[in-house]
Symmetry: C2
Subunit: 334 residues, 2 copies
DNA sequence: CTGAAAGCGCTAACAC
DNA sequence: GTGTTAGCGCTTTCAG
């Protein structure tokens, strides 16, 4: 049923090779022949069979992007950037959701199947450093995010500690002294949260403030609702704060919601800073200050590193730091 | 370099077929042999080659999902639902961004390459009815969204007119009389906007209100910033309104932002209703009322229709209406 | 129950 | 410049 190269060749009265040359825009095909072949292609509606091509070339032209959840805005935005940039390299993306599941993350390391993609850009969250170290080496892989990064593997991230310190400092500069940290994990501290918390602590320490662990507002996950509840609970317990530094914008959204419900004005009574600078951040009420990782740059660098691996680089793991900016908006001003 | 079936066969001292049987969990393989083969697989680290398998079976086990933008929250949420449900069918998804580009949408209809996916679930926005009608028939395709739906093609959507009417009615029931419609297109009216506008008009007409075209707040695109600007402009022009029915939640976000900047209270001065019921909607300030399309059901139905096509159904196009709910929250209450 | 062999559609040497 | 042909790794009849 499907039209093959051979069918086109017969129709045009040429050899398979000539058709292939036309399909691949090979130069040195007599214009007359080219035209004849092209019309045979059009008439027959020929479509190259990707699987056959992949089988023989061993290349798929596809890069896997593995993230915890495609509908988590930060990852949606990262995926959009990666996908778009991959297209400029004539590559396509294949997005994988790991849903915070360790087995699913193991599966992306394992590459249980061969010939599906040429490499993978991976934001792990559930894997341990050992998991990563154990991986079957060789397959082109670049890690993004704040997870563990064993020696041999390329990694792109922003400087979370510095960014958290800067955010906290801007709160301190605004005269805030009781700064809560929203997003401490109720169970094990995640890599991401840990680094942001470290920056927060460093800033407080540098300012000569003592650390009040009651200001760690804990959550089980990073849904806005969890942020909202955590802030309510803190207030119920009589914990006093004049600012909240949030682990990410989604928790910050929940915090804003809670503060509004509690009748606390933002930023007058409580200043709020988030992280990720989601597209929606500047339109929240009030517009949300946020750490803005340079997502385009994260995408650009991880693609570059991966392509080098695919093209044969076998050296040691590279560790790249992408830029970020602190976007100061109304939620933390004044 | 890569380990092939043959390598495993040699190592285990059996034929290729036997290895294949083990890989596919074929019954009737002597346990002893199975064990021997399995350990050869493990020792060698055998990974089946997907391209080869696809070439011979003609199946990819992959469904394309084509949407305008993967970082537009509504589509992220749809993609998440589709991807997750496809996994329960042992299918994987391949997400395509068309970026509102007609050529890119044409390309998904065209399927310029063969053997990449077994079918596609497609939310077009830029295609004309003729484009759709002209498509090379035969390839399994299901449309979602409010775009044109020519006779032969399966389509899943919600009843936009009824939903818009219901939303508008709830505003009317709250005593609102000057209800603006935010999201009218400055140039050509999109299918989606058109249907929602129709429902809005019908509700006003049924209530005996006359239509004031000055209440159509126009935009060039659906970014929050466009919604914010449109509301500012309306106020500057002295247009008076006590409610805004928004084409979608992102525009509604911009509207809330504008109203906050203008010092108009929501819902006291102006009630607001959005559309899509994004995850963030219930956490906005104030929580946003919204039409909630049943995304899981949209995913479920479109997958079902597509699988039927893939499994040989060649009948006429089906048109399915998925349910929706009006989520009434603070932004439109009182 | 296991083995041998044909061929999926394409690419790329290698001739001509 | 164009044609011939040998595989890429796997599935799948069909024998045994």
């Amino acid at each position: 049923m499907p039209v093959r190269l051979r069918d086109v060749a017969e129709r045009a009265g040429v050899s398979i090779k000539t058709v292939s040359n036309v399909v691949h825009d090979h130069p040195y095909v007599r214009p007359e022949l080219r035209a004849r072949v092209q019309s045979a292609i059009d008439e027959l509606g020929y479509r190259p069979n990707v699987s056959a091509r992949r089988l023989v070339t061993g290349q798929t032209g596809t890069i896997a992007i593995a993230v915890p959840g495609i509908d988590v805005p930060y990852f949606s935005e990262i995926c959009r950037a990666l996908d778009q940039q991959l297209h400029t390299h004539d590559l396509r993306s294949a997005i994988d959701q790991t849903l915070n599941d360790r087995d699913a993350e193991q599966a992306v390391l394992d590459q249980r199947e061969h010939g599906l993609v040429d490499g993978v850009i991976f934001h792990p969250v559930a894997l341990t450093p050992e998991d990563l170290a154990d991986r079957t080496a060789g397959f082109p892989l670049v890690l993004i995010g704040e997870g563990p990064s064993p020696a041999g593997i390329d990694h792109v991230m922003i400087d979370n500690i510095a960014a958290a310190e800067e955010a906290t400092n801007s709160l301190l500069a605004g005269g805030r002294r009781r700064i809560a940290f929203l997003g401490h994990n109720r169970r094990v501290l995640s890599h991401t949260t840990g680094q942001r918390l470290t920056g927060y602590k460093q800033a407080l320490k540098a300012a000569g403030l003592h650390l009040d662990r009651r200001l760690y507002l804990r959550v089980d996950d990073y849904r806005p609702e969890s942020g909202r509840l955590a802030v309510h609970q803190a207030v119920e317990r009589g914990i006093d704060f004049d600012a909240i530094f949030c682990r990410d914008d989604l928790l910050a959204l929940g915090a804003l919601h809670a503060l509004s419900q509690l009748g606390r004005r933002v930023p007058e009574d409580v200043a709020v800073i988030g992280w990720d600078d989601l597209t929606i951040a500047e339109h929240l009420t009030p517009p949300l200050s946020s750490i803005a990782p340079d997502k385009e740059e994260i995408a650009r660098r991880s693609i570059r590193l991966l392509l080098e691996r695919i093209n044969g680089y076998h050296g040691p793991g590279r560790h790249e730091i992408a830029p970020y900016r602190l976007m100061v908006r109304e939620s933390s001003t004044g």
